[in-house]
């Protein structure tokens, strides 16, 4: 299958290795990856902060860029949720944007959905001999309703030791501009999350969203816990021949 990668601006700029892992993983599974270069950003930060017009312009760019794609992979739960959940609120009912969104949004997937639902795999042949705990990010959990898909993928990884995260469903406190507008509450939520992560004894914290991982990971690093934050794609791309660097 040919899969159009929507890398997302955060991954593009700060976490290229997540994108590289996605490409390696999908090619290993026999699929073609394309990267439409006119893509930039889904507009989530603008929308969530109250800048609707800017978000609309970015939504128009997104639907134009991906209109012809069979399946769009957004390796970020919150960006996939932005398209599926919030784009339908952006265009006037019946407008061109509104119609384009209705047509495209159902084909936009998070990584675990693409693998489990569309490509029908849970064992992707990965090898990752580490202790891992999984944080099911708010947008993955409550907007995309990913359910157990990420766990099903992780359970099939060879060598992995999965640990349950206490208080998993609770927000890590990132929330985009929330982290800057309400730094104290955000930090309090982040350190509670980090404490729960550290309590599992895991070496690696895994999630489907690098924004949350940047926040929790940054808190874990500041606390010198030694726990590394790693995107699901990097764990699934890891093999014995080409193990993930952590």
């Amino acid at each position: 299958m040919r899969i159009a990668l929507f890398i997302t601006c955060v991954n593009d700029t700060l976490y290229p290795r997540t994108g590289q892992a996605v490409v390696r993983l999908l090619r290993r599974l026999g699929h073609e990856v394309v990267f439409p270069e006119s893509q930039t950003c889904c507009g989530q930060m603008h929308y969530n902060t109250g800048y609707r017009r800017e978000a609309q312009r970015l939504a128009v760019r997104f639907v134009e860029t991906f209109a012809d794609a069979d399946a769009v992979l957004a390796p970020s739960g919150s960006c996939a949720a932005m398209v599926r959940d919030n784009y339908p609120r952006l265009g006037e009912p019946g407008s061109r944007l509104d119609r384009a969104v209705a047509e495209l949004a159902p084909r936009v997937y998070d990584l675990s959905e693409l693998l489990v639902d569309v490509l029908g795999v849970t064992d992707v042949g990965a090898y990752f001999p580490h202790t891992v705990t999984y944080h099911p990010t708010c947008h993955g959990l409550r907007l995309l309703k990913l359910g157990d898909r990420p766990y099903r993928l992780l359970r099939e990884v060879r060598g992995i030791d999965l640990r349950e995260l206490p208080g998993a469903a609770e927000c890590c406190g990132f929330g985009g501009t929330f982290a800057v507008k309400n730094p104290d509450v955000s930090a309090a939520m982040g350190s509670d999350k980090a404490r729960n992560v550290a309590a599992t004894g895991a070496e690696v914290l895994c999630a489907v969203d690098n924004s949350c991982l940047m926040h929790i990971g940054g808190t874990l690093e500041r606390g010198r816990t030694g726990v590394k934050a790693v995107h699901l794609a990097e764990i699934l791309a890891s093999t014995e021949q080409e193990p993930a660097r952590i």
């Binding site: 601006c9 930060m45 603008h46 985009g176 507008k181 509450v185």
Partner: protein, 522 residues
């Protein structure tokens, strides 16, 4: 808050009218981020809140998950409220007719000042100087106690948590448990130090055992119930078809107030109406499970006008607008009027749990406060403009709300209202610049190259607004190369390992779309 002549907490009140009591006010509180900062550093408060919210949260979860028709009940609750709000004028008239026919008197109050004036006038007409109160959000919203105090009338709160707040001259911090920020030891101190000034004193050897505390409150209040001839209440629901008012509570103190005095005055927001008793049935299931985590609340009191020889012989219903019709006019924001004040959204909210209720600067704290207060008061003041941002948009509130209020949707809607106002120039410029960069892939690529070139120069701790991040978190290292640049240089040359055509342009093979993955069942 738009009550009559807001006072500072320490302004003088006529000494003979109000024995040793002042009440605090939310007026002049700092904006949410500043108020929350202090709360996050108060370890006692953090502990109290965490313990209390997690306990109620877990209880709610248990009793909600035991119903397999919860989602149908929730959908029904939402639909009933929406339908009622659409035809609110009609149902309000029916309610007025029914209450009047049953011997009650209906008053209409456009705002807090009108409502306070009506209630004050009604109490004065009885010649009494004391009233007992059933816990009520509407009367807190209009700051009725303060207005009564100015008229020389003392309002005695009879809900246990409300009593704690009143005795300690504190502010409520939760819809259901206004003293949730206090623990047992603190409550014992408050009872020992303050009860005597208000009536029957607490015993000298009062312990912090919950039963002993409840008993002290019972003794203190019992005498008050028997002596006071006027009561003021709110209502959880008003049934239009029969003109019946409904109060749900746990302690029985509300029922004392509703039955013992001679005159009963109920101040009720116009959105509290439900058309029929069969509609009420839905909410009697939704509310207790969502609020206290009980299958059924211990006391449900209903009253219809006046019953000769039984209960209050004079009944007044004050129907309160106070900004609600403005909220109704907002097609996105009006869903906030579905709220049945269960407080499930507070108990689940990770922000509320760390910031506490006072930080919201209103009688309505937590997620519902963050969407209701800015609608009732507007977003002109810095404190009100900060409220829609007091959320990480995690969506937990929407998930637990028994009437499916999409709180994140309303928060974002109100943020749009805030950014449409003048000001926020720095942020607007930053958002505009980010938008400009992101609206062109070349501009984005150039920005990424500039960032990569400067990667060695980025300090671990940022100055200015960046410090909000680096004060508590490390920042990620900027990679040598963006994904985009890697793709151009190397990534696009690879291919699928086992099958599939060579990578090509995205748009060159529409035929292939026929085989797309519609099997993605979600």
């Amino acid at each position: 808050m738009s009550s009559v002549s807001p006072r500072s907490p320490h302004s003088a009140v006529p000494a003979e009218a109000v024995p040793a009591h002042r009440s605090a006010t939310f007026v002049g509180m700092p904006p949410f981020p500043d108020a929350a900062r202090a709360a996050t550093r108060d370890s006692q408060l953090r502990h109290n809140l965490r313990k209390a919210t997690h306990t109620i949260r877990d209880k709610r979860d248990t009793v909600v998950s035991e119903l397999d028709d919860w989602s149908e009940l929730r959908a029904a609750g939402k639909a009933i409220k929406d339908r009622t709000l659409r035809h609110l004028d009609h149902y309000l008239e029916r309610l007025e007719e029914a209450v009047t026919a049953a011997g009650g008197t209906v008053h209409w109050a456009a705002d807090a000042a009108e409502a306070n004036a009506i209630v004050t006038g009604l109490v004065r007409a009885t010649g009494e100087r004391d009233v007992v109160k059933v816990k009520s959000m509407a009367t807190q919203e209009i700051e009725l106690n303060e207005a009564l105090a100015e008229a020389g009338i003392t309002a005695y709160e009879t809900d246990l948590a409300e009593l704690i707040v009143q005795l300690s001259e504190d502010l409520p911090s939760h819809i259901l448990v206004p003293a949730i920020h206090r623990n047992r030891a603190e409550i014992r101190e408050i009872f020992r130090d303050r009860m005597a000034a208000w009536g029957a004193p607490a015993p000298d050897d009062l312990s912090d055992d919950p039963r002993a505390l409840a008993e002290a409150a019972r003794v203190h209040l019992r005498e008050r119930f028997l002596r006071t001839r006027v009561a003021v209440s709110g209502a959880n629901f008003a049934v239009a078809e029969t003109g019946t008012l409904v109060v749900l509570e746990s302690e029985g103190n509300g029922r004392m107030c509703l039955t013992l005095p001679r005159t009963l005055i109920s101040v009720v927001g116009i959105e509290k109406i439900v058309p029929t008793w069969s509609d009420l049935e839905v909410f009697l299931q939704l509310l207790p499970r969502s609020s206290t985590g009980e299958r059924m609340n211990p006391y449900t009191s209903t009253w219809t006008g006046v019953t000769p020889g039984d209960g209050p012989q004079e009944f007044h219903l004050v129907l309160l607008d106070n900004g609600r019709t403005d909220v109704l006019a907002d097609t996105v924001g009006r869903q906030a009027l579905r709220c049945i004040r269960c407080s499930a959204c507070l108990n689940i909210c990770p922000v509320y749990e760390r910031a506490g209720g006072h930080a919201y600067g209103s009688v309505y704290p937590g997620p519902i406060g963050a969407i209701l207060t800015p609608q009732l008061r507007g977003t002109a003041s810095p404190a009100d403009a900060a409220l829609p941002y007091a959320s990480s948009l995690c969506g937990a509130c929407y998930e637990v709300c028994p009437v499916a209020i999409d709180i994140p949707e309303v928060l974002v809607h109100l943020r749009e209202e805030v950014t449409a106002r003048p000001g926020h120039l720095g942020e607007k410029a930053a958002m505009g610049a980010a938008g400009w960069v992101l609206e062109g892939e070349r501009r984005l690529g150039a920005a990424q190259r500039a960032a990569s070139a400067a990667r060695g120069l980025v300090p671990r701790r940022l100055p200015g607004p960046g410090a909000a991040w680096t004060d508590t978190r490390d920042i990620p290292e900027i990679p040598e190369e963006s994904f985009r640049s890697w793709w151009r240089r190397e990534g696009r040359h690879g291919r699928a390992e086992t099958e599939g055509p060579a990578p090509g342009q995205l748009r060159d093979d529409p035929a292939e779309r026929a085989g797309r993955g519609e099997d993605g069942g979600r």
